[in-house]
């Protein structure tokens, strides 16, 4: 049996990778690359929803207190897209 619980949170992000030039970042990420002011110099990963899903699964995997297994993390960025990660994949 699987049990799913939904949580909602709001956060801002900017998609920008230091591996690319400013122009390449603008082309790749479009509006998601718009600056919002101060940008942290070094981020561990670009905060795409894919990377957010991976990070959430990692956090849950290390702190998981339940006997039941974590099966899947699903995160929706908008009502038009979502990202899913199954444990062990």
């Amino acid at each position: 049996m699987r049990l799913t619980r939904r949580y909602r949170f709001s956060a801002s992000h900017r998609l920008d990778t230091p591996a690319l030039t400013a122009e390449e970042n603008r082309r790749l990420y479009g509006k998601c690359n718009n600056p919002y002011g101060d940008v942290p110099e070094l981020a561990a990963a670009v905060p795409t929803t894919e990377n957010l899903a991976s990070a959430i699964r990692r956090f849950l995997a290390t702190e998981w207190p339940l006997a039941a297994q974590l099966h899947r993390v699903r995160i929706s960025e908008t009502d038009r897209n979502m990202f899913e990660l199954e444990t062990g994949k």
Partner: protein
């Protein structure tokens, strides 16, 4: 990782086999065989499977995916009478099953690339009915 994107389109169709009589069609398809057609607000959910690219952090560029869905499905099918205006539904009965198959055929070559593949097409005909197609098993 699975990435799912949603798109919507409205279209009308008739579900009837031209080789059968009106009575036979009504027996199989019921009201859906009405030759004047009827419409649906279709909701399409397309799931792509892959690993996030190490540099970009993306499985698939969402803007590109939206463009592909628009070019292959929404633009040619939205506000159309499928049987009369959209091939192959001049000869293939546009049931939700056949529509999902056709959408898979159109999308798969545009999406499949190294490390990324089309995983599932889910097409909702109504809020109570949808079809999933994941390619030939």
């Amino acid at each position: 990782m699975l990435l799912t994107r949603k798109a919507e389109f409205s279209a009308s169709h008739v579900c009837a086999d031209p080789s059968l009589s009106a009575a036979e069609n009504e027996a199989i398809y019921g009201r859906n065989a009405n030759p004047n057609g009827h419409g649906h607000n279709y909701v399409l959910e397309v799931t792509v499977e892959g690993d996030p690219d190490a540099t970009t952090g993306m499985v698939f560029d969402l803007r590109e995916l939206k463009e592909i869905l628009n070019q292959e499905v929404v633009d040619p099918m939205d506000h159309r009478f499928l049987n009369r205006e959209v091939a192959p539904f001049d000869r293939v009965i546009p049931t939700t099953e056949n529509l999902a198959l056709e959408i898979w055929k159109r999308l798969e070559p545009r999406i499949d690339r190294p490390n990324v593949r089309l995983r599932n097409v889910r097409l909702h005909e109504t809020a109570d009915l949808y079809v999933d197609y994941g390619g030939k098993q």
